[in-house]
């Protein structure tokens, strides 16, 4: 008895160490590799060695011909880096928002758009395109309308007194439907030659408009929201077992629920303002992460964030290279995401279906 305990204890400790440290590390390596790959491929292929040489030169550790350096700088820093960073941030935000929403709503089939944030943001972006079309307005309106849609959904839920989970979901459905209808109105009145195609393409999702200036102000709040959600992992485990149970374990249920909804909404709205609406990431990536690492949110949330970043960087590479012209990344995530989702469903049936 004591013998087996002696033998098995270090083993479980090692296994725990493996799951708590090795996986995030492996995923971080994966994301870095995906970033380097994404920087290297394109119309002008740049090898990894050249990228590293460029980085060393930029840091003053090596030298390179000035014209070569400028050309590389143009390709890597001005053209590819903003897309790669934007892909990483958007993937991170959508995947961890999805995972957090799934815990808050106790349902593995929930995605970040549940409370209307994506519908609201889509409407905001379309409205801005019809009004004047400047990217600043598109970003600002899509962001604020995303927040407004969720506020409306939650507000509707509160009209009915106690905002239970079901009422909250219904509020979100109403809000989503309303903003979808408003989007239709905007599409209908849009100029069909220029504005309407622009709206349609935006709604398919694209990283082509990403710029370092824009990322400078979207990245900090987005990263704060993702980190905050990740920090609440175990409390979310408790919350996903039920309100009363979470309360009996000392978890401030209402504060946690609305805090996570606010963080996920903020992050999701920012993704739309960066890249339009990109579907499926928030639904499938948490499932893939759950399949790899188990359902515990403490590990699941950061892992989803990293996996989401890697996935969207990969999807953007496909979007850029698969055809002569760039295809919208939303189409890629759907085309890749659906078979992936079926695969995950097949593998994880045992757990919750």
């Amino acid at each position: 008895m004591s013998r087996t305990a002696e033998i098995s204890l270090p083993q479980t400790c090692r296994r725990r160490l493996a799951t708590t440290i090795a996986w995030p590390l492996a995923l971080a390596v994966l994301v870095t590799a995906a970033m380097l790959t994404a920087l290297s491929i394109g119309r002008f292929p740049v090898s990894w060695a050249e990228i590293l040489h460029f980085l060393a030169t930029a840091a003053g550790l090596s030298t390179m011909e000035q014209t070569r350096f400028d050309a590389l700088r143009n390709i890597l820093v001005d053209i590819r880096l903003p897309r790669v960073l934007a892909a990483a941030l958007v993937g991170m935000a959508l995947a961890s928002s999805g995972a957090a929403f799934q815990a808050v709503f106790r349902n593995p089939l929930v995605s970040p758009g549940l409370l209307g944030v994506l519908a609201g943001s889509a409407f905001g972006a379309a409205l801005a395109m019809v009004l004047d079309g400047s990217w600043l307005l598109v970003q600002t309106l899509s962001f604020t309308m995303g927040l407004a849609a969720v506020a409306l959904g939650v507000g509707i839920a509160h009209i009915f007194g106690s905002a239970t989970m079901v009422v909250l979901v219904l509020g979100g459905i109403v809000s989503s439907a309303l903003f979808a209808a408003l989007l239709s109105v905007v599409k209908y009145v849009a100029d069909p030659l220029n504005q309407l195609p622009a709206i349609v393409y935006w709604l398919m999702g694209t990283l082509a408009h990403a710029s370092l200036d824009q990322l400078a102000w979207t990245a900090p709040p987005l990263l704060v929201a993702v980190t905050a959600m990740s920090a609440c992992g175990r409390a979310l485990d408790a919350l996903s077992m039920g309100d009363d149970e979470a309360r009996s374990l000392g978890v401030p249920v209402t504060a946690l629920r609305y805090g996570v909804i606010a963080a996920a909404t903020l992050a999701s709205a920012l993704t739309v303002s960066i890249a339009g609406t990109i579907g499926w990431v928030g639904l499938i990536i948490p499932h893939v992460a759950r399949l790899l690492l188990g359902p515990g949110n403490q590990l699941l949330l950061p892992a989803s964030a990293l996996l989401g970043a890697g996935f969207l960087i990969g999807a953007d590479c496909l979007a850029r290279t698969v055809a002569e012209v760039e295809i919208p990344i939303g189409i890629v995530t759907e085309m890749v995401g659906i078979p992936l989702f079926l695969l995950v469903l097949h593998r994880s049936r045992r757990g919750w279906l």
Binding site: A103, S240, D244, P295, Q298, G351
Partner: protein, 252 residues
């Protein structure tokens, strides 16, 4: 200091209808109290009030003599633990993860469980005889095993008072007896346990006290031999059970 939880003249209304009408009930360490009541009598409501999930409309709930209203949730959680009915969790958490959630009010909401937490979880699983389930998904357990896992979580909380909502429902006969034995051991070890049940015979056999909730009041509260009578059963459930059916005897 021994922990005590007491409802003093607790009243509760739902949609204008009075559910609890001046309930007095006290739980001390070492008690194993069975709460009997018909369906809809307000047993679960009373438990929720005692746990501080909701505030009573009249009277108050006192934890160690101080009003529970407004007390910090984590502080309450260190003294009183809740064992819900075994349910299906939406995600297949491992059993040791579920039990480790009991450490939240002790070690804080953020950060991973400490070495001490993990050791305590392992010891608790051992104590309840379910150490072999530690790495199984909670969703794959049987009803009895889930109930034990939830009790393990309450013990990992290191609260001395346990409030259990129908822990016996849905368990087969063997698991009911095993669980009652387990609860008896816990009470002997100094835990105070309050559980609701629909089995007067179990209540009579194992409890140190039986409380009877009728018409929004605790009508009887005392040793099982005095409380669980043909008359009480009639008052509770509206059926008159002949004496020879109250306890069945098994052939050896």
């Amino acid at each position: 200091m021994a922990d005590t939880l007491a409802g003093c003249g607790v009243c509760y209304r739902r949609q204008g209808r009075s559910v609890l009408n001046g309930v007095d009930l006290k739980l001390c360490q070492g008690d194993l109290v069975s709460l009997l009541g018909a369906n809809g009598a307000g047993k679960t409501t009373l438990l929720r009030l005692l746990l501080g999930f909701e505030a009573p409309h009249g009277g108050e709930v006192r934890l160690n003599g101080a009003a529970m209203a407004g007390q910090n949730r984590r502080r309450i959680a260190r003294a009183v633990a809740y064992v819900p009915q075994a349910h299906a969790a939406p995600f297949p958490y491992r059993v040791d993860e579920v039990v480790a959630l009991g450490r939240l009010p002790r070690s804080g909401l953020f950060g991973p469980p400490s070495q001490h937490d993990r050791a305590l979880v392992a010891a608790t699983l051992e104590r309840l005889g379910i150490a072999h389930l530690a790495t199984r998904p909670y969703t794959a357990l049987s009803g009895g095993e889930r109930q034990l896992a939830l009790i393990a979580r309450a013990l990992a909380q290191e609260a001395r008072l346990l409030i259990m909502d129908e822990p016996l429902s849905g368990l087969d006969y063997g698991n009911q007896i095993r669980l009652l034995d387990q609860l008896g051991r816990l009470a002997a070890d100094g835990f105070g346990i309050l559980m609701t049940t629909h089995h007067p015979d179990h209540a009579a056999n194992c409890s140190t006290r039986v409380a009877v909730l009728i018409d929004g009041r605790i009508e009887r509260d005392g040793p099982p031999a005095e409380v669980v009578t043909i008359d009480t059963i009639h008052r509770l459930y509206g059926v008159r059970v002949p004496q020879d059916r109250l306890r069945f005897r098994l052939a050896p």
